[in-house]
Amino acid sequence: MSEREDRLGALIAGHNPVPGDAAGALLTAHAREAILARLRCGRAPRWRRFGFPALAASLALAGCLLAVVVLRDGAGGPPGSVLAMVERNYRTMSASSRGGLRAAAFAPAGERLLRLAEAAERQPPWTREPGLPYSHLVIEEWSTEATIGAAAADAVIVPRIVEMWMPVSGTGVYRRDERPGEPHLEGFAGVRPVWPASPAPARDRVQPVRASMGPWAARLSRTPATLRDQLAEGQDPGRPPTARLLQAVLDLHAREAVEPGLAAALWRVLAERPDLYDLGAVADRLGRAGRAIGFDDGPPRMRIIVISPETGRLIAAEDISLSTPKGPATVGYQTFISQEWAAAW
């Protein structure tokens, strides 16, 4: 190559706007996982859902956003989110002394849950091969942490992405990694997300499985009557039956991959509960379509799960409080990004 060509090559290479060592920071871990989740659940990404016939769509979107801001006075999440759905019904929920979902006259969720069970049953069955001894989960979540000192009290949100490898046998050791996440803070203007200054050291991430962590998916019955009793085991007997069942379902999804047959059985168990309500179609915090099923977990607190109507899979859960001075507020959420069986961590 001539000197002249070398100079030209150096000129071009020197104007590379993203040198190789800068490429890693282009997409956050959250953005990557959100894209992957959309791809794997077969949902078109945002640009495709909205469509982009250039200016017309952009202007329409801008107009809608403006209308939302004006009409909603800046409160709450975008239309379609769980929080937005609660806000729409807030007046009726808080109108009576009884309050909550029952006061808002939502329909019982039994029939809807049976349809979601059928959706799960339509999915191809999962067959776990012997070489895949772990459930591998990726979950996005946040919780609030309060600090109370002599001078002032402070509350912060701790967002994280949890990645877990749990042995399906329920014995041995499991691994749980936590990484800083990017919270979706609809309705939380001014709240500052933080990440602990000293994350747990790596050696603490691998821990022995405890017997109290069960019941384990592999040992759960697919028969609703038996499954109901199995789920109730280990839960606080002082809590209402539906609260115990919901907690068991969430614990299971936060711990293990739940195959479609088991998911169908879970929804059939929940379908028997008269105090679960069908709250309608929503989008979870990754934009995936879901059906919200809610429970008054000791009003004014509500527990809401979101199930994909296409796959019958649990995709999200939110805890919402109606008792904050400014209206309903999410006090915690989990977005179940992916679940599969894995050979190793």
């Binding site: 071009i12 993203v18 490429a23 997409l27 894209i35 992957l36 990404p45 640009w47 200016l55």
Partner: protein, 168 residues
């Protein structure tokens, strides 16, 4: 799609998401990088059978898909975005924002490159920015290595001529 397909796609996504994002960021505004990555892997999910077996070749295949989305799919959005930008009184560059001190130099280089046909620009970028060999460029552009070598040679000559006439 089989479970094996799904596993391979997830593996490819984790392996090459960063490189596809970098490829996109070298060609479109930063705000559109995520869309190009989404589109590219959505195509991969749809056409899993067309992805080459070897991981290296799969990356070149993804670059080729991304190039198609950059070239065709985003034209409309870019036009709409520029119009919106003008309505807000904001000038939107066609490239990634630069540190202030480099803007003048960068615009000059972009202007030089803009005088080349799109295919010449792409072959130069693949070779000098993605650091691909001529054979790898050929795989991205889905042509024979000889054809890629000729294209690269011509693109260099054309840019050289532009640089010479502009006295850069």
């Amino acid at each position: 799609m089989t479970d094996d397909d799904d596993k391979r796609l997830v593996t490819l996504f984790h392996a090459f998401c960063g490189q596809v994002a970098a490829y996109a960021a070298r060609r479109v505004p930063a705000a559109m990088v995520e869309d190009v990555v989404s589109r590219t892997f959505e195509t991969a999910w749809r056409k899993v059978d067309a992805i080459p077996e070897s991981d290296d070749q799969a990356l070149f295949w993804l670059y080729g898909v991304a190039w198609g989305h950059v070239r065709n799919g985003l034209r409309t959005e870019l036009r709409g975005g520029r119009l919106l930008g003008r309505m807000k009184g904001v000038r939107q560059s066609s490239a990634v924002p630069d540190p202030a001190g480099e803007v003048a130099d960068r615009v000059t280089f972009e202007e030089l490159m803009a005088r080349l046909p799109a295919r010449d620009r792409e072959v130069l970028r693949l070779h000098y920015w993605e650091e691909l060999t001529v054979g790898e460029v050929a795989e991205v552009l889905r042509c024979k290595p000889n054809a890629a070598a000729v294209r690269l040679h011509r693109a260099r000559r054309r840019l050289e001529e532009i640089v010479r006439t502009c006295d850069v």
